[in-house]
Amino acid sequence: MRPISLKKRAPVLILIAILFFLIVCPLIMIFTKAVIIDGRLDFSSAWQTLSENKNAVMIGNSLLLSTLVVLLSTVIATPLAYLFSRTKFARYRFFDIVFMIPFMTPPYIASMGWILFVQKRGLLQQLLPCMEGSENWFFTLGGLALVMSLHVFPFMLTILKNAMLNIPTSLEESGAVFGAGFGRRLQRIFMPLLGGNYAIGALLVFVKTLSEYGTPATLGKRIGFEVFTTEIHRYATIAPIDFGSSATLSSVLIGICLCMWMLQNYITTRKSYNLVSGKGARSIQQKLSAPATALGWFFIVLVLFVAVVIPYFSVISTSLIHLRGYGFAAGNFTLQHYIDLFTENTKGVSALKNSLFLAVSSATICAVLGTLIVLAVRNSKSRLRKPLEAMSLLPEMLPSIVLVIGIMLFWNQIYKILPLYNTLGIMVLAYVVLFLPYTVQYVTSSFTQISGSLMAAGQVFGGSGAYIFRRITLPLILKGVATGWMMTFIIAFRELVTASLIAPPNTLVVSTYIVREFEQGSVSVGMAMAVLCVLFTTTALLILNRFIAKQKGA
């Protein structure tokens, strides 16, 4: 083994130092804040927080809610996954996109839509007066779980659908040949083969629900249902501010999430089967009878109606209704709220500007930093490249709120050295930390699609390192970089939890503007902003798709 020169190692070392500072330091800060009091290791305060009755109830609540959401999204996703993988419904590829809409809708906007729809004298009761009292069953744990499931089920749908597509029909057919009936095949072949993938999907949904802030903060608050994220948020923002308790709860949440990921890892390695062989697997469609087809259509339309139509209908119509008390009456529609958004005061415009600035700057920094990380990981033989990659992906495994709390605590601590706290700068930094994994993943995946011989060919035909990078590597990973940039842009543009925790005083972004108008201002103006926000990010997504489709080759 020849020693690797320092020059070759430098990029990896520098990037590790940067990520350690940005990601690991804040996490360490959380743990120390939780258990170090006045410079001494002291678990008593952390224990006190946890043994407080209401916190114990809260932890129970969180786990209960996550479990319910897993069950409910299974009920929604499983029939759809079957329809879209094994029956003639698989033909309709456009459902792939339509069913991503709920997932791409910011959860706080969807739950506001639901609140406006079902609340007392809300849209539902204005349209159908007979539904009076329906709010009583909606503003419950069940309603909360339903709204959250409607947000995350596309995730489960994708995983299950791909798993079902990957089960070769021959395995089922051989079951039939050897005498197993439909029920037995389902029980002995289909389900065991799916089990591992389902478990992975279920764990992901569980962790996502546990980490979600938007819906519990809007809908959960209405029914007084506190979960991890809302409690962490409350301790950190509402007087008397208690960062210690916030850090303690964050530590517990990190612990739960890490256990879940470990469990997921275990299942992936032990219980999932490699079903994709090089041979082209035939997939035969299950024939559906006419009533079954009708039932399939009914289910698809029902889910779309509940998951997409209702929230968007509420949000859009609220933004267009002149006086909400009059409801849907001719002459009660106006575009005035959209005009108010820009003219009433400067808050709306400045929120848009802030979000735009944050989205562009954090997406750009992520694109550069993320690409550098992937390049360093790919081109280095250093033993440190694995830790570097793991560190860059860490933020995705943890709830955003936890990382943001860590960043708050850490940058507060070093304020005297680096006075970044309480500026837009800290927001950019937090966004970069949270969304770095997107770029890393997209660029990595475009890298894995490049055959190593393409670079080797560049070398053999006389290209120097820089020349190969400019002419071959960069053009080939550009798609990944651009996709990462756009995804970061879209998600940063509407990010809620970070903005609500560490935005400098009197600085609003799109998401906090919407929440504020919804809670204590003009709901219609808030919804006008929500419509603009969704339109804007959807347009961005369409441009991205167009761009990718235009890319030649590959």
């Binding site: 393409l454 035909f461 002419r471 071959i472 590959a554």
Partner: protein, 317 residues
């Protein structure tokens, strides 16, 4: 250009993939590295190209040392000036055929008469009208030709081929075999060709180096390799072999079911007969070994049959 490998070894993760090997490839010759997958032939080729560094030994192009573990010399691939045709063609998907071919010239700043040179290379491989296409718009054979044009445009003294025909279907493979050999002969340059296909090796090469488990088993002309294999591995890997005992074998076409004066006689039992069109192939049993050879008629299974082989056709290893 003469290529000389001297005392090369290489290990990956404690596994020795190239055992101490030396090899001299004559200038202007077509040399094939032949062996089963995992024998180290591609590694050897990549070492010549500079894509892989040997652990010990040295590599010379004519009298220039391009690699020496002892003297810590390692000329990077981009400075070695070789042509290389990759197994998967390695055409850059985001560049047109023209740009793919022009890459080597641009990278080394030889842009004088660039257009002319690229056109000439494309003409040599009969792709004049494809300059503005992209690789994914070409068939496998056309991609193969572009990869070849890319290698010849820089006028290298040597072209390395890494199983270039393995990605093509059988019919095209045969066509390209002839075409490639003709082009290389026309250019008069040194060619090093890696393959696991003995027919390819036999039909194209001036000399073949047979490799097994990182060792060069034999380095000779195709005829010698076939008629005078030096090791058991070579005898078994190239052509089919019928073993009389542990050290003596013969090639199927040397055996006759018709009596030949002065030939040795062996008694075999017929197991089955296959009709091949031009002749019949007999599968037989001689003591513990299976022999196959040819006959002009079908012979019933179980028949005991005398077989004749001249003593000089029996190869001793």
């Amino acid at each position: 250009m003469e290529i000389r490998l001297d005392g090369i070894t290489k290990s990956f993760a404690h596994k020795e993939v190239i055992q101490n090997s030396s090899l001299t490839i004559a200038s202007g010759s077509f040399t094939t590295l032949l062996g089963p997958s995992g024998c180290g032939k591609t590694t050897l080729l990549r070492m010549i190209a500079g894509l892989e560094a040997p652990d010990t030994g040295s590599v010379f192009f004519n009298d220039n040392c391009v690699f020496s573990a002892e003297k810590a010399i390692n000329i990077p691939p981009e400075k070695r000036g070789l042509g290389f045709v990759f197994q998967d063609f390695a055409l850059w998907p985001h560049m047109s055929v023209f740009e793919n071919v022009a890459f080597g010239l641009r990278a080394s700043h030889k842009t004088e008469k660039l257009e002319e040179k690229v056109r000439a290379a494309l003409h040599a491989v009969q792709l004049d009208d494809f300059a503005q296409r992209y690789p994914h718009q070409l068939s496998g054979g056309q991609q193969q030709r572009v990869a070849f044009a890319r290698a010849i445009v820089i006028a290298p003294e040597c072209i390395l081929f890494d199983e270039p025909l393995s990605a093509l279907d059988a019919l095209l493979r045969e066509e390209m075999r002839v075409e490639l050999r003709e082009l290389v002969a026309k250019l008069g340059i040194t060619a090093v060709f890696v393959t696991h296909d003995q027919t390819e090796a036999m039909s194209m090469s001036d000399k073949i180096a047979v490799l097994s488990e990182g060792r060069i088993e034999q380095y000779a002309s195709p005829e010698e390799i076939y008629s005078a294999p030096e090791t058991e591995f070579v005898a078994k890997f190239v052509g089919s072999s019928n073993w009389i005992d542990e050290h003596r074998m013969f090639r199927p076409e040397k055996a006759s079911v018709v009596r030949m004066d002065g030939a040795d006689e062996f008694e075999v039992t017929v197991v089955s007969t296959q009709f091949l069109g031009t002749s019949y192939q007999l599968h037989t049993k001689y003591r513990d070994s299976n022999w196959t050879f040819f006959s002009d008629r079908r012979i019933a299974a179980g028949t005991k049959l005398p077989v004749y082989i001249y003593d000089q056709d029996i190869i001793c290893i």
